[in-house]
Symmetry: C3
Subunit: 128 residues, 3 copies
């Protein structure tokens, strides 16, 4: 088991690491749509928030030496499934031709009023 | 990493594959209680919807060369935990003597008004 | 695939096992904040409930020959994200210096009025 720690890891005081690797799989913690450098949620709606959460996911992947193409599955949470079409568009632009398995979970209100949270598992054997 | 694609894979325009295999584990995307051939949610209540979501799960398993006995864990989402007894009955009929690990998640309203969504991980080394 | 069964496994009639092991990973079923010996939810608020859910998690880990230090990732569900600071405090006291990856999921109302449910994956190769 190997912890993946980023420069923003402990900013929010939560008891977690951004990623943990075991047996060829990277487990990425839930990434909210908060800019870790500023603590702000991007303005402009759920598409922008999705891009922020995906950027946060990518920071963890890159820190582990992986890329978005190594993502096996994403689980996405949003408090209103009506947000889904916009999330799907930003998400598909991010991943391009790569299509991970996916779960969409309509949740209760997210921390801080975020409209999207994303977690993932990735192929950690892809690194080399 | 190996994508598992079914005949219904891209019907809903979502950016995902029904299943992704890595390191001896099949990750199955969230399966809603929608008949993929008709796009309809079965009538008759949550037990029927559970059977549909499980049939959708089984299609992905079978496409990957696996069966319901290879399921390691299921995660089930329903917008009202009061649906749980009926879901559990249909679920136990489906799995019979096999009892995967399980998580029940009371969610917000699911896509299209579905009453149940099911995701799973399965043992992909079971295939031979 | 190997089922992990505890003395309380079938108490609630649910069709599941508390844990399932595969390929060096233990998948722990969702643990509610219910005392399995009494069927009661602890009084005193969400911190006490978090300690109960974590005790239930630890019983599964120990039954599998593992400890809390082997946990790779936890996924925590609570019906109100305002509970989060108290959950985080009880959670950090439980894990001490070990920080698994983590996902926080604001859910709908949990079974029986519980304020917290916890699931986990753990490193099953750590045993020995």
């Amino acid at each position: 088991m190997k912890a993946i720690v980023t420069e923003f890891s402990t900013r929010d005081g939560g008891h977690y690491v951004p990623g943990m690797e075991h047996n060829g799989v990277l487990y990425v913690s839930g990434q909210l749509s908060i800019n870790p450098a500023t603590g702000e949620i991007p303005v402009g709606g759920v598409a922008n928030e999705t891009r922020q959460a995906l950027a946060n996911l990518e920071l963890v992947l890159n820190t582990a030496g992986l890329t978005r193409d190594d993502v096996i599955q994403c689980r996405l949470y949003t408090p209103d499934v009506a947000n889904w079409p916009e999330i799907n568009t930003a998400y598909s632009e991010f991943f391009g031709t790569h299509k991970p398995a996916r779960v969409v979970v309509p949740s209760n209100n997210l921390y801080g009023g975020c409209l999207v949270e994303i977690e993932a598992v990735a192929d950690a054997t892809a690194r080399t």
